[in-house]
Structure formats: C-alpha cells, structure tokens
Symmetry: C3
Subunit: 233 residues, 3 copies
Amino acid sequence: MTAARRVRRAPAITVVRGRDCRMDRGVIVGYRPDRAVEDLRLTLGRGARLRSGTVIYAGTTIGQALQTGHGVIIREQNRLGDDVAIWSHSVVDYGCRIGDHVRIHTNCYIAQFTVIEDGAFLAPGVTIANDPHPGCPYSRDCMRGPTIKAGAQLGINVTVLPYVTIGRRTLVGAGAVVTRDLPDGVVAAGNPARVLRAITELECVTGLTDRPYHADGRAGPRLAAVPHPPRRS
Amino acid sequence: MTAARRVRRAPAITVVRGRDCRMDRGVIVGYRPDRAVEDLRLTLGRGARLRSGTVIYAGTTIGQALQTGHGVIIREQNRLGDDVAIWSHSVVDYGCRIGDHVRIHTNCYIAQFTVIEDGAFLAPGVTIANDPHPGCPYSRDCMRGPTIKAGAQLGINVTVLPYVTIGRRTLVGAGAVVTRDLPDGVVAAGNPARVLRAITELECVTGLTDRPYHADGRAGPRLAAVPHPPRRS
Amino acid sequence: MTAARRVRRAPAITVVRGRDCRMDRGVIVGYRPDRAVEDLRLTLGRGARLRSGTVIYAGTTIGQALQTGHGVIIREQNRLGDDVAIWSHSVVDYGCRIGDHVRIHTNCYIAQFTVIEDGAFLAPGVTIANDPHPGCPYSRDCMRGPTIKAGAQLGINVTVLPYVTIGRRTLVGAGAVVTRDLPDGVVAAGNPARVLRAITELECVTGLTDRPYHADGRAGPRLAAVPHPPRRS
C-alpha cells in the first residue's frame, strides 16, 4: 500500500539570494524547468532588481546587481556575470553564458548555448538562432548559439545565425542578418550583413565628438574594460 | 424603475477543460473578448500545460497537450490541433487555424485568419501579416493571413506577408521577408525572399548526417506524418 | 538617533484617473521609475481599458480612451493623445510624444524621444531606435527617436533608425529598414528602404476598390483628419 502511494519525487529547488534584492510582487524565482536538470539551485547575487512579470528558472547562476524589466524570462542552466541588465519581455533560453556589464534590451531572444561576452550590447528586437536546420532529425546534437565577443554592439532587430562569431567592439547595423563571422572592430549591415568599414572610421552625426568609436575616446563603465581592437590598415 | 436598471447582458462564458491540465497561478482561461462573438465556449483538451502570464480567450477550441511558455496570448475564434506548443510572449490573434504538432516559438505574432498546417515550425520572432494595405477603408473586408503548409520551417525573425502560401517542408532562412508564394520543398532567403535551392540539396554543417533534409532521413514525431515533397529535377 | 533613522524620502506618486476606466486584476498604474523624475503624476483620461499585465509608469500623461493589450509597458515622461491603442507586449520607452488615434500593434518597441503623430499605425514587431552609435560615450547627449508623421503606416517588422522622418500617409512595406527620411505619400520597402512609388499608384489586390489610398477614397476615423498629401507629378 505504501508502495502504491510512492510517486516520483521531483528534485528539490534551492534559491540562494544575496542581500538587498528588490523584487516586485508576483516575480517568480526558482521556477521548475520541465527538462531534467541535475542541479536545481538558483544563485542570485546581491543587489538584484527584478520587475513585475519576471521569471527566473532554477538551475541558473547570476552575479551581482542583475536588473530586469517587466516580463523577462531567464531559463535554467544559464550563467550570468555581474551588472547585467535585461529589459522587458526579453527571453534568455537555457544553457547560455553571459559576461559582466552586458545589456540585453527589450523583446530580445537569446537562443540556447549562446555566448555573450563582457560589455556587449543587444538593442531591442535582437534575435539569436542556434539551429542550422530546424526540423532535421539531428538538430538536438548540433544546436549551438553564436559567440558575441566583448564590447560588440548589435543594433535593433538584428538577426544572428548559429555558429557565427561577432568580433570585439564590432557594430552591427539595425535590421542586419548576420550569416557569417564578423571580425573585430568593424561596422557591418544589410541582409546578409557585409562589412562596411572600421568602427574608427565612423563619424559622429551630431558633432559632439569627432569619432564615436575613436580608439582614444572615453568609454563608460560598460566598455571601459574592453580594449579597442588594433586599427586595421 | 426596473427598466432603468436593465443592462445589456453579456453572453455567458463556458470553459470546458480536459483532464490533467496544469496551469500556473495567474493564468487566465476564458478571457472575454471585446469583439461580439456568438459562441463563447473555450474548449481546452486534456494534458495542457500553461505557464505564468498566459491568457486564452473564450470562443476558441484547442486539442490535447497544448504547451505554452510565459505570457502567451491566444485570442478568440481560433482552432488549434493536438500537441501544439507556443513559447513565451507569442500572440495568436483571432480567427486562425493551427494544425497538430505545430511549434510557435518565442515573440511570434500570428495575424488574424492565418492557417498553419501540421508539423510547421515558426522560430523566434516570426511575424505574420494579414492586411495588404493597412489604413485602406476596405481593409476589414480583405484581411487574410498566409497559409503555411505542413512541415514548413520558418527561421528566426522571418516576416510573412498576407495571401502568401509557403509550401510543404519548405525552409525559410532567418530574417527573410516572404512577399510571394514559395513552392514545396525549397530553401528561400533574403528580402524579398528568393528560392535558393531544393531542401534536399542542403548539406549538414557539422557532419552528423549527409543531408539534413534528405527524403530518406529519419524524422521526429513532429514531421513524421509530413511526407517529403517529390524531388525537383 | 532620529537622524540615524532618517532615510531619503522618495517623491510621492499621484494617479489622476478619469471616469469609466476598466483595468484587469494585476494591472499596475503609477509604477515608480528608477530614473529621477520631477513630476511623478500619472494622468489617465477617462474610458481607458487596460488588460492584464499592463504597467504604466508615474510621470506620464494619457488622453481619453486608451486601450492596451496584455503586458503593455508605458514608461515615464510620455504624452499620449486620445484614442490610442497599444497591443500586447509592446513597450513605449520614456520621453515620447504620441498623438491622437495612433495604433501601436503587438510586440513593438518605441524608443525614448520618439514622436508619433495623429493617426499613425505601427504593425506588429515595429522596432524604433534612438541611438546612432550605441556604446559611444556621448550617446546620452545625442539620443533622438524618429518622427513618424500623421497617418503614416508602418508594416510588420519594420525597423526605423534614429533622426529619420517618415512622411504623412507614407506606407512602409513589411520588413523594411528605414535609414533615411521618407517623403509624404510614398510607398517604400527593402533593406535599406527605398521609395517605390506614390501611395496613390497602389492597386487593390482584391478588387474591392480601384485604389486603396486614392486621394478621394473614404477613410475610417483614424485617418479622416489626415489629409492626403498632394499628388506628385
């Protein structure tokens, strides 16, 4: 009779939360994934600020000072650094690695197994893929997200294909579709995205500075630790 | 005096729910549409799994084993088959017909009167239109979504225009804008989308198989019932 | 001891709500912005209809009869006219000016400092930018959204760059990337968007009318007040 009552016991979820976290009412931390995940601990560093509708799954590790907009979803088996901000309605699927000082703006989708390095910026609507041939019976074995190197800047509605690497401090123009690797320190745009010039050749549209990405220019904290790539000749 | 108190009585909403449905707290089933809808019954087949923030309107019929991510909206007068999955923040507007084993990934928008056949897959950010000339005074009379045939695969951020038909098992590349009909079994990409080759000509990028869409290849349950189109000569 | 207890007092939030507003349970009006905002009054005109998951920040002024879908976010320091509708999961960032009879459909992102004039229509997935060079240390000083003139119609998944002006009643085709100004009364499409013809030259695809945007055509209330631009020779 006791045997008949025995049920599969779901593994326990642990939430380890740092000091000074502020969460709006209704925010969910430690949501149970349906996938079988061995380690269901959620570690959320101190100083997090989570806005209404945010859901963070168990099995993920997040550094200090995470900020989320409303309706942000962060799945299991992710590893996020310090000072990451993810804005409203963006979704980070499982198994990603995201560095420090990363900004993921509104309505973005980050596919499983994507790597985003320190200081990268993803503008609203950036969408990332990880499956070269959806529907192929071998898809599960070859899914791999792109690698977005430190300080890269992706414009609004940029589409990034699997296996692609976007170089350090490279700027991808709005609406571009990135189908191949992009080197460090370039501007690329179009569908498919093509390299247009070095970022150091860009001119300021408003006259506030001579070159917005000049190698000697000031940089805010997000990019300060990401050195400019060497000037291409 | 009783006459003065008489108010328009809103038609009653009925929710018919199958066995073994699991819904997160705050999920709304049977939301009242503002449009005048004669039949306000919501039928939700057994085994549904609805995640937080999901809203399903009254007046819709859904088969077995629906899965939703967070923040999914399914409007009235839709008809969904069995084993449909719709991921976070996607919206199915009213009056659509969606077959069995369909996958609608994250941040998609399915316009009114769209038809999606069995086993089709829509990657994150797919957006579908139904109005050839928005703002035209006759728009209400000519709205019609596209038809996405069985087993078609739409890549991330694909845009589909009204009246278009996308063929069986056809693969639309990431970021494409589909402005005209696409035949069965082709690969198309670009803005506007152009046919590049037959899907059977695609090669595997990782060497796991010779051809990801080979007509003799294995297929998961989603595509098993959708035969390969005949090879084009 | 009392001094030790003294804390920074956050400025008070006031919500001024007109008659006949209907809000679903869980809707948040008067959400506190983290940015320092002097005037934290939220004015919401009468007859608003706010659906589940909607969040409206303090410090914004909204006219009569606002309609929102589910999960709509309207930030601080915005000014919206009468009869505006914003559909599910769309986000209006801070500091925008939006006229009367504007429609912002599903999954749109409206960047800070965008101007949208009367009767404009933004289809699902329209994404707007305001930062010509994200990551430039001077970005904060040069952010400026585009201006979308009265009666302009933006198709699904349209991407609009900063500083751009889209002309009156101009129609932007689905999936276009608007990188430069577009004049009044034209059809534009592509990446980058190019002018294709005058809107009065468009033909109806269904035969319901001879010209969907004929200067003498009927117009619904949304566009009635926006005169057709003069015919280009």
